[in-house]
Amino acid sequence: MNGARLSGPVDPPPSRNGRAELMFPGTSEMARRMRGHPWPRTPMGDPSTWPTSLRTACRICLTSRFPMIVWWGPELRFLYNDAYLPLLGSKHPALAKRGDEVWTEIWHTIGPMLESVMASGEATWSEDLLLATNRHGYWEETYWTYSYSPLHDDDGAVRGVFTAVSETTERVIGERRLAVLQDLGAQAGRARTVTEACELVADVLERSGQDVPFAAIYLRHPENGEPVLAATSPRGATVAPRPGGPGDWPVRQVLLAEEPVTMTDVAERFGELPSGGWRTPPTQAMVLPLAGETGGRTVGAIVLAAGAGRVLDEAYESFLSLVARQTAALVNAAVAYQLQQRRAEELTELDRAKTAFFSNISHEFRTPLTLIMGPVQELRGALAGADERVREDLEVVHRNGLRLGKLVNTLLDFSRIEAGRMQARYEPVDLSAATTELASVFRSAVDKAGLAFEVDCPPLPEPVHLDRGMWEKVVLNLLSNALKFTFDGSIRVAAHAEESHAVVTVADTGIGVAKDELPRLFERFHRIESARSRSNEGSGIGLALVRELIGLHGGTITADSVEGEGTTFTIRLPFGREHLPDDALVPAVGTEAVSATAAPFVEEALRWLPGDDTEAPRWAAAETFGGDVTGSPRPAAGEAAPARVLIADDNADMRDYLTRLLGPHYEITVVTDGQAALEAVRAGAPDLLVSDVMMPRLDGLQLVAALRADPRTAGVPVLLLSARAGQEASIEGLDAGADDYLVKPFSAAELLARVRANVELARMRSRHARWRTAIMESLQEAFFVTDETGAVIEINAAFTDILGYGPEGLPYTPLHPWWPHEAEDPQAHRMVAALFAQLVTEGRGSGMLPLTHRDGHRVWVAVTFNDVADPETGLRRMVGTLRDVTAEHYRVQRETALAALSMRVSQADSLRDALSGALEELRGVWHARRVLAAVWSDRDEPALTSTTSGPRWHDLPERLRRALTGLRERPPLSPVADEPGGAGVALEHPDGMLALWVDLGRNRPFTAEDQTLLALLAGHLGQGLHRAHQLDQQRETAVALQRAILGPSHLPGGFAVRYEPATRPLEVGGDWYDIVPLAGDHVGLVVGDCVGHGVQAAAVMGQLRSACRALLLQEAGPAHVLTALDRFAAFVPGALCTTVFCGRLDTVTGRLVYSSAGHLPGILALPGGGVELLSEGRSTPLGVRLGRPRPEAECVLPARSTLMLYTDGLVERRRRPISEGIDRAGSAIQDGRGTAIEDLASHVMSLLEPAAGFNDDVAVLLYRRPAPLEVTFPAESAQLAPVRTALRDWLGRCELSALVTQNVLVSAGEACANAIEHGSGYDAGQSIRLRAVVTADDLRVTVTDTGRWKPPRPEAGRHRGRGIALMRALMDEVVIDRGTAGTTVDMQTRIS
């Protein structure tokens, strides 16, 4: 506002009213209020002082029809428009109040948002924000969508917030309620019981606590109609009314009135119900009736509490009534479902009872029938020649038995169809031919009845798939029916094709059927009463059966009839086979004679006709329940040998009966119980086993189970016979694995048909099996099948070929006989065991295994296996193949071993290494305990090499020594494996015969292949050893040459040299040293380093060395020598960049003139300590700059100093500066300056050699001056003076003090005098040797005489006797060694 004042209005202010009208335009309530507001008294001040933005905002606010607010100033004063009034509710009027006072209850939410806009100047947007407001006197759930935008003053500072707001409460809540209803709707069809329905509703409402915090569903008790609580939401909520309160939910009242009740005293009645997330529990609720199905009474009532966040208004009520309606719908659906379910169950039960009844009666009839018909048949045979009356009576009994049997069979068929157990086999049939044939059966009966019989069945365009047995029944039933009801006229059978159908009609001119009866003609057990017929016989199920049978064929049958004129049955059967189940289709079996089924029909028909005394047709006897079978079952096509049938029955009569029935057609074996049957089957599988169920020892079901459990007998077809009726019994039998099941009593034909079918099926199966076997056998690879335990249950011929085990030994249970023996070859055993474990556990895998053939030899096989489920039994099976890879295995093994052996031998440095390496390889090939080689050279005792450390010949067991010695006698390379646990072979070694012994350890087999391999390896070893031997010799020659090239074999005194080539085994390289004696006391010193290693570098080195030597001998100075070498190097390939240190040394004075061609500096260790580097006189390596004069430097080597020249191999280390190496070398020499020069050389080399050896050529030259003095002189006293002169001279070069010089001189003189005394005068020509050596701090004199010791003569010692005392006095250490060959006096003195 300061800003406002400062800026001030420029224009003159308009009149107050006009100004206010301009500021707060319009006629709205809020405009009016604002105009009348006493602004100047508020913190907002006079509107005329307001910034433009505020004024503009006010105008927008007031003229907008959207709810808007302006918050202004630090206190966020509240300005709003008319549209905002409903949102503000009872808070209005609140003009220019502080924001936090207007919206106190939501300030915790919106306050910070407003502040943030004020602070940051950034707008916000909130959508459907839930704010609990209290604007109507109660706490209310409200939703808002609004934006906060900053309002700036004229200076751009944020001074207020502009808000456009819309309340979305209705929409948000509406959507939410709709979701609840949708959720309820989605439950439709899920509940199967009323309780479930109520629980589903409760679940939904529990998820919708905001709208329905509490609910209770009451259902009428099905009997007394009283309400019973079915579910609550939330689950387990208490619903007990408060004691002393107004009471419980008015459920009964609602049920009675069927009207909803709204309650506002919920809290008084029940206290605190679940609040559904609101701050306060519900106070209002509705109790609503749950309407029943249309016209039905209410099924219950539902209590729905209203959430405290909303007032229970009309919208809320309508929502709750929709909830109630949905609930009712769900409950009613469940009721309906339950009702339907109960009806279905009742029907099913009815059906089941009926089927059981049919099944039962048919079986009940069949049992006595068997007992009647069997004996009758016997009697007919036995009484063939008996009295006529008796025979006639018997025929009567027989015929009626047949009739009863037919009736029972029909009933049984029916019950089978009912139970869905009718097993049809549809084959393509020439319908016309089959029908004609069937019709012909009836011709005699029709003729006899005096009726015309027309059969008009021309060939049809395509076959019809029929079950012949069923079709027979259809046609015979229809014909029988026609004959029964036709007294005049004709019976006509016709067939023709009609588009996709074959049509067969059976028409008669009989009595016809009344129109109203027609619809029920095919109804079961429906008989047309009082119809005239030839017989009153009939069960009323014939036509019903016909319709069922045709239905099974996918066809239809209709009847047309005119009463008194006749009836026509029309059958339509579709062509093709798509309408039939695939598994019931069979290929055409061929034409078949009319089966035995026809007989009872015709016999029965004939019986209806007058004067029936005709013989039954001949084939009629085929339908019997016992006795001879005159009709011949068609033999299986193409079978020459009769099938073998095994009969198992404990009842002798039944055995006989079955034997008689089946005997003519099959080869019969009879046993009396299941156990015997099992044994018989195992002895030789029959084509079919016919077994009774009830038997002692092992009953039929157990027998089947036992057969099926054994892979060898699992395929034997079994036909079970049982007296037990009913579906369950047969299912039990089939479950056990029987192929077919026949319930006693059975007709002979039925038995024969079943037996025939099963035999054929079995033969077909065995054809499959044979085909499968043929494929298996034709496989090149061995094939096997194991069960889940890993037992091998099936193999092919290749398997037998590879492992020697045939099918006769099946099953092969683990551990299989071809496993390597654990004790003999544990490693192989482990390999097999590991893969076998994989077979059993994982079922798939592959690998290469060592197995043992039946005859004992080792076979390597590649095996692969996979698991499969047996399609018939569902059992887990592993199917695998084996391939014999023995040859391949040994070839690979041989090649690997040979390669390894060759490598070892070729890498060897020497013959010795070659042999010991080869033995290691051999040990690896056989995992041997050890491998020994004995070589007989010219010595008596062989030289032994072993993979174990150092056994000597005499340490070996006697037996082994004998075996090794024995090998010498054998021709080379012929292995011997007579000894257990080992094998040997002899071969030629360069030094003599070598006997090789592979010690396998205990009991390990050494196979023929192993022997071959041993011979092969021994042969290669022999060759390898000879090669190594040749290499050895070549190498020796090369080394000799190398040494010759390297430098003088005899070094001048004071020098020591070392050479170490980088390339092994050849000891040649590119580094060299040379020491060239020159005129006077001068010596040429050279150390050089050619680029590269090996022979090529050595060749270059040799040339440079010779050239250098020649140049030095020409008395050229070092610089001159190197300049000349520059030119020389230009002509020698590979000589460029050679580095050389060349020096010319005066050994007397120690003056050294030198020049370096890029070589490392010489190191000089001074006698008093300290190191100097000879780093002057340096220039480039050889050949780099031709014709340039080289510099020369000069220095003097002090007496007793040590000089070292070297090549970089000595001091260079990877990743270390070379100066470090030079320092190390300097320290090494300095430390060793008191050591004799030769020892110092060894010391330096070993000290500087890296752990892994030098990786570059190394040449080292060491010199210490003066060189040791060596004087040899005759043992004469006259020699003393010259020797003394020489010694004094040398001592002078050592630069010692006068005292030390004198002491050494006197001591040496005494020693020499002693030596002369010993040697002179006795043996002329004896000589004395004096040697003097100096180091930095030590001087040593040795005097050796060769005279034989003689006691001193008294006269000779006239002037002597004090010599030794004098030596000891003058020297630090004196050792006198008087040996038989002479005396050595060794004297030493320190000189520092």
Binding site: S1277, A1278, L1280, A1281, P1282, R1284, A1298, L1299, Q1302, N1303, L1305, V1306, G1309, E1310, A1313, I1316, E1317, R1358, H1359, R1360, G1361, R1362, G1363, A1365, L1366, A1369, L1370
Partner: protein
């Protein structure tokens, strides 16, 4: 061949006999040295044996000196001094340092 040695007998200013030895005394000429000493010991005074110009004296020479110990005095130079001292000769023979101006070896 013997080691170089010259023996010159004379008298000093005070009239005492002196044997001046020059060269080296070792086993090869010890006998000659002995003879010269014997010859020179004529009167009652001790013979002065001047070894100031001797560069080498070994045990053979010392033996000769010990033999004539009772009648000689010695003059030695620093080179010979240690040998003479280690031998114990000063216990029986008066030993003097070199005369001033005498040559030292």
């Amino acid at each position: 061949m013997t080691s170089p040695l010259s023996l010159a007998a004379s008298r000093r200013i005070d009239g005492r006999p002196v044997l001046v030895v020059t060269g080296e005394i070792d086993m090869s000429n010890a006998d000659a040295f002995d003879a010269a000493l014997t010859r020179s010991a004529a009167d009652g005074d001790r013979l002065v044996v001047d070894l100031g110009a001797v560069g080498y004296l070994d045990s053979a020479g010392l033996a000769v000196l010990f033999a004539h110990g009772a009648r000689i005095e010695l003059i030695v130079n620093p080179v010979l001094a240690p040998v003479v001292t280690f031998s114990g000769l000063p216990e029986v023979v008066p030993v003097h340092g070199p005369a001033p101006g005498a040559d030292s070896v």
